[in-house]
Amino acid sequence: MIDKRVGSVAEAVSVIKDGATVLIGGFGEAGSPIELIHALIDHGAKNLTAVNNNCGNGEVGLAALIASGQVSKMICSYPRSANSMVFPDAYRSGRVALELVPQGTLAERLRCGAAGIPAFYTPTAVGTPLAEGKELREFDGKHYLLERGLVADFALIKCERADPLGNLTYNKTARNFSPVMCMAAKTTIVQARRVVERGEIDPEHVVTPGIFVDRIVEVADPAVESELIAAGRRYP
């Protein structure tokens, strides 16, 4: 019987190698897989390209991963945070490169990459500085930019429920980028608030089908990023 569960967050992320591209689910703190990120810090893989909508808060989770020096490049849409100087400092000092991508283009690049679409045209960013160096093409009298599909080596994902086959559900707006990131990664590593038996998730309610998931670990009581920050916590 197929069973994608592994025993710990450490084991879950142990397959991540130096130089990997890692998609990290979440929009702000909602959906951020903090325990997997912290396990990746402990694991120590370096020279990573990280993909997330943002660049982390405080000195935990994604911000801590950047602070640890393991990230050499960020791909994101909104690398500003009211409560963290980790990315700004790393960026200004040249320790971390930034590829700035409009939020919808980032989501679509992931979805297309996952779907075997190597490139697509989008109206977003035409005539702006983010169009520089990109092919401009007219369809039916309107201008569009060519954007490339994005696939990655790994995804770190937080979900609500998972079954052993890897079927996932999410909680409210913690869903955000996670379903397309599961699709766009060669190896998708998931922390689930609850791992349930086969058949417990109604097939009509599955958001991410198991084919897009590789490794599952239960983290029943995940940390809340804003609470960690309010408590002045940092990782490690």
Binding site: G28, S77, Y91, L100, A107, P123, A125, G127, T173, R175
Partner: protein, 216 residues
């Protein structure tokens, strides 16, 4: 008395914009004054709010004791969901935006040009951390783009200009601008004055606008 303490205040600007959004519209509200639009919808109208992080049918901000850090808006503030809401992932959310399914978005602005160009994501300052979020997708896809902004900057510089000096968010995208002083349309010939705030003269609006301002 400066123009900014006369004219419309933040709530009045939001209310004036809300008045121009039709019943049943699907609406995305930007961070800041645009968020106030939801509090000023005229009686008898229902708008459905979209937040690009994956919720259609967003309700009011969450009460302090009912906050859920996994139910937030694009500004990352705790919100609520109405009966009849739907959650979806980011690619579907931006399909709604880019595909022209949203009727109206209301955004802030650094500058609006007379040809409808909008600059609202970066002052192009060196050393600043560039951050665009979903703004470029919204202006590229939403059917009607409204802007709410003070007419001039804190230092008195015009925000309605002949040509944006700041990096663009989109080209020729703005339909209507709601400022503390006036309501102004962007048309083929340029800015057209639709309405002034009580006690504000057309001449005063013209003075604060760094581009020709035509009468209707």
């Amino acid at each position: 008395m400066s123009a900014s303490s006369r004219g419309w205040n933040r709530d009045q600007m939001a209310a004036r914009a809300a008045a121009d959004i039709p019943d049943g519209a699907y609406v995305n509200l930007g961070i800041g004054i645009p968020e106030l639009v939801a509090e000023h919808v005229p009686p008898g109208r229902e708008l459905i709010y979209h937040t690009e992080n994956g919720l259609l049918g967003m309700g009011p901000p969450a009460a302090a004791d009912r906050r859920d850090y996994e139910l937030i808006n694009a500004g990352k503030k705790p919100v609520t969901a109405i009966a009849g809401a739907a959650y979806f992932h980011h690619a579907d959310s931006f399909a709604m935006i880019r595909g022209g399914h949203l009727d109206v978005c209301v955004l802030g602005a650094l500058q609006v040009a007379q040809n409808g160009d909008l600059a609202n994501w970066s002052t192009g300052e060196t050393g600043a951390i560039p951050a665009v979020g979903g703004a470029m997708d919204l202006v590229a896809g939403v059917k009607t783009v409204f802007v709410i902004t003070k007419h001039v900057t804190k230092t008195g510089e015009a925000k309605l200009v002949e040509r944006c000096s700041f990096p663009l968010t989109g080209q020729g995208v703005v339909a209507r601008v709601f400022t503390d002083l006036a309501v102004i349309d962007v048309t083929e010939k340029g800015f057209v004055l639709i309405e002034t705030a009580p006690g504000i003269s057309a001449g005063e609006v013209r003075e604060q606008t760094a581009a020709p301002l035509y009468s209707r």
